[in-house]
């Protein structure tokens, strides 16, 4: 929590547009992550006392982790049509302690004419253009940690995530907007592989 407050303080202190005039964007989102997990066959071990033989070989049974999660996303190096971002996902409400933690970076490409608030100031004159509605697609990558439940045990795994996403932002005033985003990614872990689908709704803030 302390680090979260420090991060917010740094971002707020740097609340000026960069030299290009385009503003960074911070967004706070809440939504659902659904992560289907399939254990790699080579890592499967029997969790009961029965002995396994060729006839009773253990098979991978897909399981799924669904958790309401919080997402913090910081867009930086914004230009008219693209931006880079760093983001983090943490689970908020889970069933049986299952959840997905993820930190990653990525890039957004804006499909409309202007992707971020632009402002210019000279000799007391200020000129600002704010996109009312913008929509985008992007790609991201990151490292995650998943906790999932099988029929007989609680397990966890570290995975590498690679995905795409798309969304839109409706600006309801000069600094804030409502954001909707949906994404899908492939998660390749040490002991598992899976597909992650996420769907988020949140608030954006121009810095």
């Amino acid at each position: 929590m302390k680090y979260f407050v420090i991060l917010l303080s740094i971002l707020t202190l740097n609340s000026q547009a960069d030299e290009s005039g385009f503003h960074d964007v911070l967004s706070f989102n809440i939504g659902m992550i659904s992560h289907s997990v399939t254990e790699n066959e080579s890592t499967l071990v029997s969790t009961d006392d029965s002995t396994s033989s060729d006839e009773t070989e253990t098979t991978s049974t897909p399981t799924a982790v669904s958790a309401i999660s919080f997402n913090l996303n910081w867009e930086f190096e914004t230009t008219q049509d693209k931006s880079y971002f760093a983001e983090a996902f943490v689970p908020m409400m889970t069933t049986g302690g299952a959840g997905v933690f993820l930190g990653g970076v990525g890039m957004n490409w804006y499909l409309n004419d202007l992707g971020a608030k632009y402002s210019y100031m000279l000799n007391g004159t200020e000129f600002t253009i704010i996109p009312k509605f913008k929509y985008y697609w992007g790609a991201s990558t990151g490292i995650g940690y998943i906790i999932y439940n099988t029929e007989s045990a609680k397990k966890s795994d570290v995975f590498f995530d690679l995905g795409i996403h798309g969304g839109g932002v409706y600006g309801f005033n000069n600094t804030k907007g409502i954001k909707f985003e949906v994404g899908a990614s492939r998660a390749t872990g040490v002991a598992t592989t899976g597909i992650k689908i996420n769907l988020f709704l949140g608030i954006t803030q121009y810095l």
Binding site: N112, E126, K132
Partner: protein, 203 residues
């Protein structure tokens, strides 16, 4: 019913995503004009102004980049080229500067008032205050020879003759038509037996 729902959503989308043009100015109550690509100048209102950019585009045939003029008598006309981007609000806070001729008059008025203050201080022999005021004036008006001449006068009254000579020379250098500075320069050069040709030239 279906038509009603479609109409409602169409109206909602048009009103929600309509781009706004907001123009504020300092001072307020300035006339605002837009100039179309064909060069036609049209008045659209006064500041503070809030209007729909899309309706402006259709009314005045604007496209691409729009030139906006903000004007008020007594102030320099503010002129800016605004790119018209779909679904984007444009906010302009224009700071108009006072017209150049009025600004010069105001500056000269300030200079004269302050020089009278300096003279008053010199009369009561408050030389440090007078000198400090001249220093401030010199920073703002470095090309007025009267300031250096008065610094020279203060130095002369304090019997710092070499310093006074330097100031009179500077005053004469800034404005060779300053007779008083020239007269005092020649007088002090004679006092120190300095050749006039080696110190500022003959007049």
């Amino acid at each position: 019913m279906k038509k009603l729902i479609v109409t409602f959503f169409l109206m909602l989308s048009f009103s929600s995503f309509a781009a706004e043009l907001v123009i504020n100015s300092n001072p307020s109550e300035c006339d605002i004009f837009v100039i179309s690509s064909s060069g036609k100048k049209s008045a659209i209102g006064k500041t503070p102004y809030k209007g729909n950019l899309d309706s402006l585009k259709s009314t005045f045939g604007l496209s691409g980049t729009v030139q906006i003029l903000v004007h008020k008598p007594g102030f320099e006309t503010f002129n800016i080229l605004v790119p018209v981007i779909s679904s984007s609000d444009v906010i302009l806070n224009a700071n108009l500067e006072v017209e150049r001729s009025i600004k010069i008059t105001q500056d000269v008025d300030l200079l004269v008032t302050d020089l009278f203050d300096v003279l008053r201080m010199m009369r009561v022999k408050d030389f440090p205050s007078a000198y400090a005021k001249l220093e401030r004036l010199e920073a703002k008006f470095p090309h007025y020879s009267i300031i250096y001449e008065m610094k020279g006068s203060i130095s002369y009254m304090q019997k710092e003759f070499k310093k006074a000579l330097n100031y009179y020379r500077k005053a004469f250098g800034v404005n060779p038509k300053n007779r008083e500075a020239y007269r005092m320069k020649v007088y002090l050069e004679k006092m120190f037996k300095v050749s006039t040709t080696s110190a500022g030239g003959k007049r």
